[in-house]
Symmetry: C2
Subunit: 513 residues, 2 copies
Amino acid sequence: MQPHAENRARLKRRPLLLALALSAVAQAAPAPRPTGDALAQHGASAASACASCHGASGEGTVASGSSRLAGLPAAYLLEQLNAMAAGSRASAVMAPLARALTTGQRTQLAEYYGSLPLPGQPRGAIATGLDDRLALEGRWAQEIPPCVQCHGQQGSGVGNFPPLAGQGANYLAAQLHAWRDGTRRGDPLALMQKIAARLSEADIRAVADYFSAQPVPPAASAHGTAAAPAAHAPDAHGLFRPSDEPIPDTEFGKVVRFGRDVFENPGKYAARYVGNDLRCSSCHLDAGRRAGSAPMWAAYVSYPAWRAKNGHVNTYAERLQGCFRYSLNGSAPPLGDPVLVALETYSYWMARGAPVDPEIAGRGYPKPGKPPQSPDRTRGGQVYARSCVFCHAADGGGQRDNHGNPAFPALWGANSYNWGAGMVNVSNAAAFIKSNMPLSQGDTLSDQDAWDVALFVDSHERPQDPRYTDSVAHTRSLYHDRDDSMYGQVVQGYLLGSRAPSPGRRPPPTAAH
Amino acid sequence: MQPHAENRARLKRRPLLLALALSAVAQAAPAPRPTGDALAQHGASAASACASCHGASGEGTVASGSSRLAGLPAAYLLEQLNAMAAGSRASAVMAPLARALTTGQRTQLAEYYGSLPLPGQPRGAIATGLDDRLALEGRWAQEIPPCVQCHGQQGSGVGNFPPLAGQGANYLAAQLHAWRDGTRRGDPLALMQKIAARLSEADIRAVADYFSAQPVPPAASAHGTAAAPAAHAPDAHGLFRPSDEPIPDTEFGKVVRFGRDVFENPGKYAARYVGNDLRCSSCHLDAGRRAGSAPMWAAYVSYPAWRAKNGHVNTYAERLQGCFRYSLNGSAPPLGDPVLVALETYSYWMARGAPVDPEIAGRGYPKPGKPPQSPDRTRGGQVYARSCVFCHAADGGGQRDNHGNPAFPALWGANSYNWGAGMVNVSNAAAFIKSNMPLSQGDTLSDQDAWDVALFVDSHERPQDPRYTDSVAHTRSLYHDRDDSMYGQVVQGYLLGSRAPSPGRRPPPTAAH
């Protein structure tokens, strides 16, 4: 992961910057750290010392359910203090304490605890045989994404999505109850309120137990516990859903599992072929299983097929190559490469039981309705600020989790899909967004919003089309000659594509496999 | 096809040799040709001149339904004269004439007409829009193989299976009626009697019209009219059957069609990768559609899969490569080669509508029952002489049609599958034979017969295992260390594999694609 070191450092700074941009109190001048330290250890006027419940190092107290504060994002901590003072996060103990603090003191405390190192070991006993399916796989049939999709691998935290790893199970369960019962509010897009409302008591216990047992700070061993695909309820619309049979512990199963690992983290498991921070599951939610999110089982039963993009019949393996070249802005693994074989095998595994049918219901993204008005970039920017920025960041660069793994994909810029990708087609982006975004809230945006924000996203610079020939104008004439692509069009005086970063910035070290 | 010239010449001689071996009257010394000529043109004692009905050149008379004799196999003609004399082929006109001829005269006439050149043009009007499905595709759901499977491409004739091309439609229809009504008998294994009994009047007319319109001698353009897959009745056992939807006239359809062409004649359409005269459809009947005959739709939905043969997960494309290397005794087309893409696409086309399921009913060959007695080569040889020799020839070398295209596959020898092929497993050969042989008479052999003849076939020398290492003994220990393979075993004092021809005698001219 070395090539990413600089990038990661940049991303690490982003949560706070983002929080400052979003928070109404961000203009308060930060006090010097010693003040926060003194407040924490000794309290102030009507506020008792934080350390008395949260521990001398902010490590929390498992039994009492007082949370760990050390290493949580400062902006998140500040929001919590403000929310508890205002009552939008109900806490009988904390409300009077928070109200006793000035805005400046809250900021000082948030920065102090945010600066403390995370404890080195999990605080809960490491349990074995935990039910990690909801945490790792979610239950998309009920619009429950996996917790790790926002909170990072092993719950390591992503930007303003707080780390869950190593928090006490009682505390985690209490918070899920609070979201569910409405005694905790104010989360962006009401994400947690809506998700928590769909959880059973058993779900809450499983999730709380799982994350309390995860190590912090996490080692690089991170990804890939051998979790079985989640058991799915039959789809309400009669669409195919992959079996919930566990991946077998066989040689075949090993390849399926490796395919799933690549799918979830190609930058780690197929590093030589990947040139950005996207994951396969960035565009194919639920690890490629979700109907209407270009599920891989539907793609699998749709190939070989003729493609206009390259003018010949493509096998499934060749189709996968295209994803690496364009969407992942990398280079195509050679046919027969273990990465391609594993992805094909993982797709086949998911497709078991589906009919071979290029028109299978649930494939691709459902076409959104035509918008009442022509798509508009300005309106799209407003949608973005309202519904997308929290995860994808104001600069469109996405966010990594605290392990350094891609979490929220970059939507433009050097780290996003290149100008050759299918998502460059505004209609395609609108289709994906309408059905799937914001995460777990698909079909909540209007058709107009979906088209507007798709146009906004696709009107930004990104890596060059790898098929670039001669000039932007010529390349547009060859591959983009349609309203649906902004490549080669002028936006606010800027010719899109004209200063595009070179594509595929991580070519494989050797040409042949 | 140049590398086959010598081979073809050898095969051209075979029908007569075979006929001599089979015919009870073969010992009659052949008379000099002028005698046959004189008999044909002028008749003898009680027999009127053949030419008066069959034409001066043996070309036949379309209107009267008198058949073309020129260029038919001499052995076949002799059998017909004998049959008409004996009454097993009923003909009011011909019976007294045939009886008036001596055995010697019949032989002279047969040899005379057999030596005449085939007429250069079709005798019937070339009709367009003919229904060629039964002729080219058969209707396997009723155990009707395509006529061309035995009579050669375009009905050009294979050994003792007479040419049909350019015979008058009335004559052809009359013969099918005769087979069906039992007024013509004596065909090997009662093949034609059984098949004709399954034909409707419309079937008979379609077949007669089709073959009467085929050119003789056929040009090299031969194979591959764009016939749609035959319409199949739903399978009686509820097994999947490929759709009868015509292959579309699209770029995709072109690849499907090319795949079918390769499947039916790999030696022509994938020549550089093929080292023998087998066709894909030699082991996968009905062009890969037939359940219980290792249908390609079932294989398609069964891969990727782990294979013991090479110890890793194989994609469908890699599995196809194995067929070229072993069963076709050639070399593996590189991944992405148009031949592999087309075969995968053709398989996908057939699989549409099937569930993705590695255990799909109808896959592979049904396992035969264990035989009451241990399989025995001597008994197997008797089964072979009784039920197999007519098509596969006494030397196991198979037969080509009069176009030079492979018709009946070689079962051993230099032109057969090599020692690495799956059919080398006696159990596999027994399974195929039990369910599928003799052609259109599957499941008529006893389990004992199937095992015996499988052992007999697989106890002959064939091209070397391409994985050969060091010695036959060592190669056996690596790849054949089981009772099921005769490789490296001693049969009648001969060590099988010890003088095996080199495998893959047609390597591709260049290494890479």
